[in-house]
């Protein structure tokens, strides 16, 4: 490690601008996370246009801080409302809400916060120690290896993020087609632009991200308002006995450490989101407990297990991103877009070309965790009040920011029409259970996949036997085929209804 670079990075992380940027990201993330229905990816997609005027370090740290803040904030609504801010906090609600109902809402929130921050910091440290050696190895990879790894990641994400491999691959296919729109690098000719000069640079990422993630989600939320409206939040009261104590912390510490391990492992694998991590950690904590019957009735270990894993997933998902340039989930895919907007290629080249930025981001991530703890601890009462904001107030404001984000990008009415098209697409994908995660990841990695595929074909002069001399590429091609067959078999087995089950449509 270059200690001079690390020192510069630490100094940059401790500037006032850094504090304001990262603190603002965490605060905004917290507020968004507390509001049920607004997920991490929605927050990031809307926030990307806000980062245009920031420096690359502040912009990326702001978005990572936002991501961390939403994960911690979503626990507040899960505990006080029994309505998780996002799916990954559903496991937190299993014990958090009963504990709040038993008159211990503040204790539940503090357990959630401490588990979140510890899971987050430990996973960030693991990221720092794993991503850099990983990136050093990845720098030795050629186009054959990169093309094989990208294909493997795509199949893996398609199979795991939605559950049905065919729907995942179909969504990925659409993402691949749309990812090739724009000027072809080789011929310099427009491809799939239908004569629109605005599409020469490709399909605008902001329109695709905001449309499929944020705007479509608001349409779904407004549809839900027809069926469900009022929510009852558990109120926080001034009660000195309602707080986390040293014996409680000592009891939950092993669970937090186990949850962090589970979350880090799940996060590092492409396609497995924080929901898988938090539920897996919750299940493991229940199995390991001496009194598993207490789970679901306000057991502190349940909250600690779910929250530590949920937050550990976020830094861990950056391991394949910084190490290989592969986004493991939607948030990481959006970060690639944010890097691209600031003219930076994320992946192993970042370590070689821009190590100061990489170390600064790591330092910013640690700072974000500390800010998260301070904000969460002292702002508990304020964030608890936000749970009372009704969704019908949130929806129009988010829609406004979606449209404004597109205008800030400078695409004008054309961009808004594209945005609307992707909102409709995202709505249909969510309604019919097609993986929008695979769609978005495929859309973002397609230019990289095409470039590596093209270089491989040119270098090999069309001779596929050359692959026999590239063992890493061969291993990933074999892994892709095995994953494909396994996931297809799993989809068919899952599709079989149990004997005697009634027909449901």
């Amino acid at each position: 490690m270059d200690f001079a670079v690390i020192g510069t990075a630490a100094a940059e992380a401790l500037t006032l601008a850094s504090f304001i940027g990262i603190g603002g990201g965490v605060l905004l993330g917290y507020v968004v996370g507390v509001i049920p229905g607004l997920s991490r990816s929605v927050a990031i997609s809307i926030a990307i246009p806000m980062t245009f005027y920031m420096s690359p370090y502040i912009a990326i740290s702001f978005l990572i801080g936002l991501s961390k803040g939403t994960a911690a904030g979503s626990a507040v609504s899960a505990i006080l409302l029994n309505a998780p801010g996002e799916a990954s906090s559903a496991a937190t609600a299993l014990d958090g809400y009963p504990m709040a109902k038993q008159g211990k809402p503040k204790t539940a929130l503090q357990i959630g916060l401490i588990a979140s921050v510890m899971g987050d910091i430990l996973a960030t440290i693991i990221l720092i120690f794993v991503a850099i050696p990983f990136a050093r190895v990845a720098l030795l990879f050629g186009p054959y290896e990169m093309a094989a790894i990208l294909a493997f990641a795509l199949v893996f994400i398609a199979g795991l993020s939605g559950g049905n491999i065919f729907k995942g691959l179909a969504a990925g296919g659409l993402g691949i087609i749309l990812g090739t729109v724009g000027l072809d690098n080789q011929t310099g000719l427009p491809r799939l632009t239908f004569g629109y000069a605005e599409l020469m640079d490709g399909m605008p990422l902001i329109a695709v991200a905001i449309g499929t993630l944020a705007l479509s989600e608001m349409f779904i939320q407004s549809e839900k308002l027809r069926y469900e409206r009022g929510t009852m939040s558990v109120q926080l009261k001034k009660d000195d006995s309602d707080r986390i104590t040293w014996p409680i912390f000592r009891r939950i510490l092993p669970t937090i450490l186990r949850g962090t391990g589970v979350g880090t492992f799940v996060g590092a694998l492409p396609g497995l989101g924080p929901s898988v991590g938090s539920f897996m950690s919750y299940g493991m904590a229940q199995k390991a407990a001496k009194e598993p019957e207490l789970f679901g009735k306000g057991e502190p270990k349940g909250i600690a297990a779910a929250e530590s894993a949920d937050n550990a997933v976020i830094p861990a998902a950056l391991i394949p991103l910084f190490g290989l340039g592969i986004p493991g989930n939607v948030s990481a895919a959006l970060l690639i877009g944010a890097f691209a907007i600031h003219g930076i290629t994320v992946g192993p080249l970042l370590l070689r070309d821009n190590p100061e930025l990489l170390y600064s981001i790591f330092a910013g991530m640690i700072l974000a965790s500390v800010i998260m703890l301070v904000l969460g601890w002292y702002g508990l009462m304020v964030f608890a009040q936000i749970t009372r904001v009704p969704p019908h107030v949130v929806i129009p404001i988010v829609i406004f920011f979606c449209l404004a984000g597109m205008m800030l990008q400078g695409y004008g009415t054309f961009g808004l029409v594209i945005l609307m098209g992707f909102a409709l697409l995202g709505y249909l994908m969510k309604k019919y259970d097609y993986s929008f995660v695979t769609f978005l990841v495929a859309f973002i990695i397609t230019p990289m996949l095409e470039l590596n595929l093209r270089q491989s074909i040119i270098l090999s002069r069309g001779n596929w036997e050359i692959l026999l001399n590239r063992p890493i590429a061969m291993i990933f091609i074999a892994c892709t085929l095995v994953a494909l067959v396994t996931l297809i078999v799993r989809t068919f087995r899952k599709g079989k209804p149990p004997a005697g089950a009634p027909a449901v449509d």
Binding site: I176, I397, L408
Partner: protein, 150 residues
């Protein structure tokens, strides 16, 4: 799910077929000297859509036949469809307006109108929720990003 799987699979497969037969041959360009034609990667995507869409549709059809479900249902709740559709129409009309008026001048009305349609009646909530986001956008675009009023 079999019915929605059948129809959605059919649409996906049809889109894949359309891309293979018309969109890619006509709009992907060509380079006879290139080892990798510009249409190769989009074609991979289109084949994925065609094959996977076909499998989803066939799987849905088999499940429908087994469960004796008809492909079309007359049990459609038009009021539910209308409730799901109006936000799309509202935003589409707003986009049309925005081709004449900047979002900063029009945003407060956009938010206020939707708040009222979603059932909000408290005047102070409508006023606050519609003016504050627009003011934030003004500060962001004019003072922070310095791109002027958007």
């Amino acid at each position: 799910m079999p019915r929605s799987d059948f129809w959605s699979g059919l649409v996906v497969a049809a889109l894949g077929l359309l891309a293979l037969l018309w969109v890619i041959p006509n709009y992907a360009g060509s380079n006879p000297f290139a080892r990798m034609p510009p249409g190769l990667v989009p074609s991979i995507g289109a084949w994925l859509m065609l094959i996977c869409g076909g499998v989803i549709a066939v799987k849905g059809l088999v499940q429908m036949l087994k469960a004796r479900i008809v492909p079309l249902s007359a049990d459609l709740h038009w009021d539910a469809v209308a409730w799901a559709a109006w936000p799309f129409l509202y935003v589409a009309v707003a986009i049309w307006f925005m081709s004449f008026i900047k979002i900063t001048w029009f945003g407060a009305f956009l938010i206020a109108g939707m708040l009222i349609l979603l059932g909000e009646r408290r005047w102070y909530m409508i006023l606050g929720c519609s003016v504050v986001p627009v003011a934030l956008l003004y500060v962001l675009s004019v003072y922070l990003m310095r791109v002027g009023v958007v």
